[in-house]
Structures are given as structure tokens and as C-alpha cells.
Symmetry: C2
Subunit: 343 residues, 2 copies
Amino acid sequence: MTIKDVAEYSGVSITTISRVLNNHPDVREEVRAKVLKAIEELHYVPNSSARDLSKTQTDTIGVVVRGAGNPFLNSVLRSIETAVRKANYSMVMCQIGSSEDEISEGASLVRSKRLKGLIFLGGRFDYTPEQIATLSVPFVCCTYTNSFGSLNRKAYSSVYIDDYAEAFRSVKTLTNLGHKKIAVLLGTTCDRSISELRFKGYCDALESEGISLDKNLIIEAKSFHIDDAFKAVENFLKKNKDFTAIFSIADAMGIAAIKALYNAGLKVPEDCSLISIDGIEVSKYTIPTLTTFVQPIEKMGRYAVEILLDVLNNNRGNCQLKVETLLREGGTLAKPKNLIFTP
Amino acid sequence: MTIKDVAEYSGVSITTISRVLNNHPDVREEVRAKVLKAIEELHYVPNSSARDLSKTQTDTIGVVVRGAGNPFLNSVLRSIETAVRKANYSMVMCQIGSSEDEISEGASLVRSKRLKGLIFLGGRFDYTPEQIATLSVPFVCCTYTNSFGSLNRKAYSSVYIDDYAEAFRSVKTLTNLGHKKIAVLLGTTCDRSISELRFKGYCDALESEGISLDKNLIIEAKSFHIDDAFKAVENFLKKNKDFTAIFSIADAMGIAAIKALYNAGLKVPEDCSLISIDGIEVSKYTIPTLTTFVQPIEKMGRYAVEILLDVLNNNRGNCQLKVETLLREGGTLAKPKNLIFTP
DNA sequence: TTGAAAGCGCTAACAT
DNA sequence: ATGTTAGCGCTTTCAA
């Protein structure tokens, strides 16, 4: 079933079919109706490969996601998908593991699918201009920005929160309540990405309060995965109970922390306060409700798409868009009480 | 950068390049090496549209997902993606809303992308043979089967749990503990899919115990979404506290239930037992841990792909594969105690 | 072992 | 307003 069949069936040329398919104005209404009817009756659906091939440029944008399974990124991804579809573009997605390189994956995707642009979701961003050069299409980094690279701001777009500042603010929220012994729960202190930035915010917030960094209060999980976070906190609690609060760099990890604390007989927030960043759906339903700085998830995805399309249509140049989180007050915050030192 | 450029660069014909690209044996090693080097140096990546177009059949399978955002389906989807990639096939995904029709979406996808086969994830399945006929490629239903249709078993494949039996078993677990007043939390009692089947299991389990169905104990949420489930339970609790247990048809809804119960001052499991079906990741971290019948999520996705590929390669015919859940004992089950009747 | 050439199904420039 | 035709970049006979 090809365009040719439809042409024969309706007694016009394939060009006319193509015109109808692409909503060209110069087709007589009568003919258009006839063609539409034929398409309907034959259940004809255009071959998208052929279409893309002859168009040389497709209306497709690529999304490269690092860290599948993360509920936060999943929500952003859904928002991106919705926005892309609404703009009548299509989207191809490519999940990569944490060890793979998003730039080369993206570059390959662009060539393979003749993409117009790219969105990187949850990436690392310590790229150099040389790496970027292989991309050849505009791109926007969603949920992070070029904090570790040496990139010209004109060379890329991004939608992100100020991870450093938000972490700083989170920890300040704890110190303002009187907490001094604040643990941090993270994936790693040096991932060249948000984990590292948020860790820095933690360190500096402590320093601004004259609290020196205690390495024993760094809870480093094997990954951002909830299971790993749980194990990390569990192990941590076996050795250390001399703290009054935890700053978790992500909601999923915070959920694990609540459970681990509970299992260890520690009550949140009476024995340990907890604050985190993300604002995923399920963290509204922990007991107590997680207090967290909510990222504007839906907006971030939507903006990423809007910016990319604007750049593609030459409506504007690249830009870096910083968005703000909003504190969702749950029930995981309290003033510190003296904890019995049980080493 | 096309195959032609590579041909000129390496001084051979495009046919030879194509041969190298597709690992044909009849290329001299020397030439192959030269071509590979050229490809490398030029950063050449084949245009997949052109490839697909000339091959008439692609190594692509489509996945139509109904109910994006559901964490359970998300996990299955990831498993499918992994299996597809491992088999050197590629995958295209299509999310549809709950009001859309997966068959027509699937049929259109098949024609548009020349797919070899389809996997339906989280569908409804009350299809008729006529609808199926429009599909024209093998397909497998993942997480459900043709419970409501009149389909010949040779006409499709599926990987599923026995929703009716699992629900029956869940409710029996509660009655065995002595519970008589058991509420059910679901999306709708008649979705022609798993919600309806699990509801039926609930009804029949009660009946088998001589307990008659109490319509006041049916908690019908607007959707499967956690927020809607929460609201539904919240409303329910305003009117009705004369029950000792809840059977939640999905983990996400169960998580919402725990929270709503907690907010209403009811303790799980002392005041209300809770059991559900699914076994998503985060339900290990509720307080108390959700007691749930865990579906073999990873397996279900992987089997769906394996079956489809086997059917495609004529290694076997269609089949319906029923898998079993495994009870994950959490802390949401207890014997009933007398509740004060507060209407 | 290699190359020439005919498509795959569509779009778009050009002609009518 | 409609048709003719030349590609888009690749795979795959068929010939050499």
C-alpha cells in the first residue's frame, strides 16, 4: 500500500496525493475530498522512511537520556514528549548508561535520523568545544547546564536550576532551625554534574555557618538508585548516629533515608530532620511527607522544547534559562534535639 | 556525508561500502579495513531512513503503551527496551491516552514505520478478530491477555498474570486473617481490563467466604494515578470507617492509601490491613512496607520480546504465557480488631 | 571479489 | 490546479 496505489485508486497523480497529505493549498476541494476518501478506504499510512528521506531534513528532535529509571527524569521526559508532539514534531529517544557518552550518542543519532536538534536530559556537561563541534545541530541541556565545561554561552541552550544555590538554600533551611550536625546523602561527590554541585552547596552552606566539613557525615551511595541509597543510609547508621539532620540531594534517595531511619528506630523529624531537592510525585505520600524543593518539572521539559524550536526557527539565539524551585513543606523538618551519642 | 562520499574517499564503489556496513563476507579483508578506516575518519553514520526504505522490512518493533507515567509499566518498558536492544532490533514507542485506541495506533505505526511486530503494554483487550486483522503483523500483549475478546489463541501472544486469580488470592489472604469488612481500591469496576478482572477476583473471594458485596466498600478513584487514589481514599474515609482491610489493585494506589489512612488517624496494619498487587520499587520503602504480590516485571518485558522474536523468526507459533506473582511480605497485614463504628 | 544500476516511497521543482 | 520527473541514500539483484 503506497502512494501509488492511492493515486491509481482515486484516479489522480501521486503528486496530488502528496499535496493532500501535506496540506498544500493548491488542490481543488473536490479532488481533496476524493483523495481523503481513498486514503481512508485503503487504510493508507505514508511510509515515514520515504518521507524523511526525500525531505532531507525531518521534523524530528532527539532526546538523549542519561539515567533511565529515575522518576524525576521520567516526568521531565513525559513533559518533553507532550510538548514535542504538540508542536507537530516527532521525537526519538535514546537511553544511555551512566558510563556512555551522550555527545557521541547524540552525534550519531543526528546523522542516523537526520535530526533537527537535540535535548540532553540528565547529562554531565563537562564538554569541550571540540566535542560539541561534532553535534552540528542546536541542542539544549535539560536539568543541567555547562557548569564544568568551557563552552561559549552562544553555543548551546539549557534549562536548569541553580543546583549549587538550591543545595545551599536547603542546608541553610536546616541550619536556620539550629542544626549543626548535618549529613549529606548523595551518589558521589565528583560526578561533574548535579551531585557534585549540590555537594558543593552543602559544603559552602556549612562553612558559611562556621561548621567545618565532617567527612563522616557524607553518605555516598553506589548510585542514585533508591535501593543503593537505602543500603548506604543503613550502613551509615550502623556506624554513626551523631547527627540531627540529613540533606538528601534527590527525593528518591530521601524516601530511602526515611525508611532506613525508621528501621533504625529513629523518628523523622523528631530524631532527624530531612530535606531534599526534586519534588517527584510519590514524595508527597511518604510518612511524614518529604519536605523538598520542587523543581518545575513540567515547565522544564516544555521550556527545553520551546527554546530548541525557537532556535531552530531562528526566532532567537541560544539561551540559558535558570528556573526556580519551590519549597513544598512536608513534615520532615524540626528543631534538633540532643541525640545520645551512640558510636 | 553519505555512502557516496565514503565510496569516493576510499576509492571503491558504494556497493562495497554497503557490503562492509552490513557485514557481508565477500569483501577482501584489505578493502574492508580501508573502508572501515574511511568511515571512522569521516564520522560517517548511515541514514536510517534510506536504509529502512530500501530494505522494505525493518528490524524494528513497536511498543504501544497505554497509561504513561505508571511506574509499573515504566519498569516493564525499560525491560522491553533492554531486550529489544540486546537482540539487535530497534524499538519505537508510542504513548497513548486512556481514551485512545491502541489497535488503530498500532496499525498506523506498523504501516508508517514498516514494523515487524508490536508489543502492547497495559492495554484493554476486548478486541474483535476484525480489529486485529488491521494489524497485519504479529503482536504480543504484555501485562494482560484477551480476557474480554473473542480472539483465537493462535492469533496473538501474551504475557500476563492471572489478574482474577491473583486478586482472589490477595483477598483470601485478608479473609484468612479473619477480615470480613474488606474495601477495594480501584480505578473503575468496568474498564474491560485488569481493574475489572481484579475487581471480579475481589467479589468472588468475598463470596467464597460467604461475605456479600458491600457497595459502600468500593473505593473508585478517577484514575490509577496516585493523586486520584489518595483523594478517593480521603473521601471514602470521611464517610466510612467500618472496615478492617483494603485490597488495593495496584501498588501506587496502595501507597496513597497508607498516607490517607495515616492522615485520618488510622494505623496500618493495626486499624487497617492493606494488600496490593504489582511490586514496584518504591513500595519497598513505605512505612510500613507494602505487602504486595510482586509481578515478575523484568521477566515479563523480556519474555514479551522473546516470544515476539520467536514468532517473527518462525521458531514457534503464538502463545499465551501466564506468569506468577510472588508475595513480598511487608508490614501492612494484621488480624482485624473491632473498629468503632463511626458513620 | 567488485561494480553498475534498478528500485524502495516519497517530496518538490518544474512544466503544463 | 494538476502532472512529470528527478532525486533523497541506501540495499540488492545481476553482470563482470
